[in-house]
Symmetry: C2
């Protein structure tokens, strides 16, 4: 029996109980969420040492950090450092998107070093192995892709992105659309190219039942990828995107029926005034499945600062009901991130997630702000640093200023005001 | 006649016409906005060389950068550098909050170097001059404060923050409130302390007509300060804050009646789910006057990253109708910002403003994103850098990565996907 099937029978497995305890929420409420499919608890059956993480309604908004080698840059050491920095900075999960070097070996090493749930996008490896074998990527066989997914499951990968929602019909819709950016999802573009060349249906759509069996076997959560996510805010919420979302909703229902946990991936580049609609449509079409968004990035014109554009979009999305934010770093659209940029990306996403949790009324969220405010009122610097989301950064910045007078150290003079205020209205 | 009075008679003065031209909007529409009080055009009568800037409904969301000396750090050179960096980074206005050194001389120098509208908070100087004269700050005379305001007008200051909305009644309400942070506005706390000590009404409330005469004389826009803005998200939208806002609305009506342009300052620390209500209340109580917000900061726990917390809040506020964003830097709550932090603060606020302008449908806003997206589709790197909000940052980040293969340079592989997409669905 799978975690979802047990939950439906009223049983919270140890992963559900541990995830509930980690968030101080009622395990019975979490079990009900898993049973309803509005929550997933990430942990592969083969990886009992992994700290299980709940994603979905009623839980804290989670943050994922991406890492992985590329063809040009293969350093296991650097990826392990990114992993450690991400988890230290508070990432709830990590995805290994490696496309360079010995991908199997790198994944196994990352899994060994990783205490949190790990996700992958297996189609990257399937394509690379096809090309390495001297064949054009479009000659990848469906069975080869499923075999790679099984290998990831066997290794202990906790969730996989699978672009199952691109179909002949939605691809036709894409081809007749007037999108500026076309397909910007790497998995989505491979899938579309494969379908065109082979004049065939998307293998992950056609063999979806086989995929579900693999996911069942390893208790691997499916993250149904949005291959047609917009790559420009001008393309957001268009017909191809929403047609794919509707298909993902149907596939999510089939996954749950087969006892497989499922979440839905979402955009992408979305203007501020379309974000709530995107969340509403996902919840409506996908039976309330957890929504895992990349961004959303609210403007295209700020390369170098996309972590800020995504913090804006992520906060608004999560406040509207999105459950899981994939981080974006300052170097998005420009290059692979450095280790400090990975850290910056995680923190920016955590700020967005926390701001949304306050708006959502997640228990305990506002309490952190209360503690900080109480320290500020007391002009207690050490307390403020301890209450900070990133204490090290707060301490470094503070200490770099050497203020002579603690009360007049800020631009707005807030602390001097607080001192006067305490006298006037009582502290 | 003042700019507002002329606008009411159907006349757009040269400042209104220049501000309309700068934004490519119809001067007649802008004149109507000024006449209605939903727009202000900032430019002191004494400073014809200043580039006039429109703030309010139907115009681009504007960004202000604060600078100024403190008791501990008096360097005109550094403040001029902050001014230059702010304007270069795209700040629409600057406020000089100097509290250290020869404040008059510093203001004059900054005004000389400043091509954009400049604002001040005259009460800071009035208090410092009282203390410098050997008297306790609470013995400042109302006439002394008005004299400082006149001096600022005479020098060419384009807008002044005046905390006119704190009254005996709202101060009683503050004293009986259960706020965590009390009063965090420096001007607000001075005003409250003065009122308590003197057992008198707020001088700027009592002598408001005199203040209006000074503002008229110099065509100085009043920015009615929110002395009771919340300093913790737990204090947001409470009774003292909204009582003061109602008073500000009454004072705004009196200003307009006297031909004086007026905008309203707003919070501050506000949770994401209360921001729209704050904008709505301001527009409702203040006759649609332009809303100038500080942040809003959506969480208290991210010192070191308050520019990100404020980008989230600022974008949501501006999309809901706020007109003017005061920047916040990464060192807010920790110390005075360095020059690079000033730049970072301006850029973060501009991202928020632009994201909101797209949502508001400000003409021309989306076009910038379209240009960037077209460059991305063509994999045109030079075009992308030119289309960036901060081209230098985009170029520096890009060049620091030395990608060997331009198509696989990003984490998400977006460019490789675009190349494939262009082949599959036609470019």
């Amino acid at each position: 029996m799978t975690r979802l099937e047990k939950a439906r029978r009223g049983e919270a497995d140890d992963a559900v109980r541990a995830a509930a305890q980690a968030e101080s929420i009622d395990p019975e409420a979490l079990r009900q969420g898993v049973a309803d499919g509005t929550v997933v608890v990430l942990r592969n059956r083969k990886r009992p040492s992994c700290r299980p993480v709940a994603v979905g309604a009623g839980t804290r908004t989670k943050v994922n950090a991406n890492l992985g080698t590329s063809k040009d840059r293969v350093s296991l050491e650097e990826e392990i450092e990114k992993l450690e920095v991400s988890v230290e900075a508070g990432a709830d999960t990590v995805m290994d998107l490696s496309t360079g070097g010995d991908i199997d070996a790198i994944r196994k090493e990352i899994l060994r070093a990783c205490a949190v749930p790990l996700g992958t996008v297996p189609i990257y490896q399937a394509v690379i192995e096809t090309v390495s074998a001297g064949r054009p990527m479009v000659e990848m066989k469906p069975g080869e892709l499923l075999e790679v997914i099984r290998r990831h499951g066997e290794d202990g990968v906790d969730f996989v992105t699978v672009h199952c929602g691109i179909t002949r019909r939605s691809l036709d819709s894409m081809k007749s659309s007037n999108r500026i950016m076309g397909i910007v999802s790497r998995g989505g573009s491979f899938t579309a190219a494969w379908m065109e060349y082979n004049e065939a249906e998307n293998p992950l759509y056609e063999y979806y039942d086989d995929l579900l069996e693999i996911a069942r076997e390893y208790e691997m959560t499916l993250s149904l990828g949005d291959g047609f996510r917009p790559g420009s805010i001008l393309d957001a919420t268009d017909k191809p995107q929403i047609e794919e979302l509707i298909t993902l909703g149907e596939l999510a229902a089939r996954a749950r029926e087969r006892g497989v946990q499922v979440m839905i991936e979402g955009p992408g580049h979305v203007p501020l005034n379309q974000i709530e609609a995107n969340v509403l449509l996902e919840k409506r079409y996908c039976g309330g499945a957890p929504f895992y968004v990349l961004g959303p990035l609210v403007t295209d014109i700020a390369p170098g600062y996309d972590h800020i554009g995504c913090a804006i979009g992520g906060a608004v999305a999560a406040a509207a009901g999105a459950d899981f934010l994939c981080y974006v770093t300052p170097s998005e659209h420009l290059g692979l991130p450095t280790v400090p940029e990975v850290r910056e990306g995680v923190i920016a996403a955590r700020i967005a997630a926390h701001a949304a949790d306050i708006a959502k009324g997640i228990p305990g969220a506002l309490e952190k702000d209360r503690q900080m405010s109480l320290c500020r009122r007391r002009l207690d610097w050490e307390g403020q640093i301890e209450a900070a989301l990133d204490p090290q950064k707060a301490r470094d910045l503070r200490e770099s200023r050497h203020p002579e007078d603690e009360e007049v150290c800020t631009m707005c003079g807030e602390y001097r005001a607080v001192r006067i205020s305490n006298k006037v209205i009582g502290s």
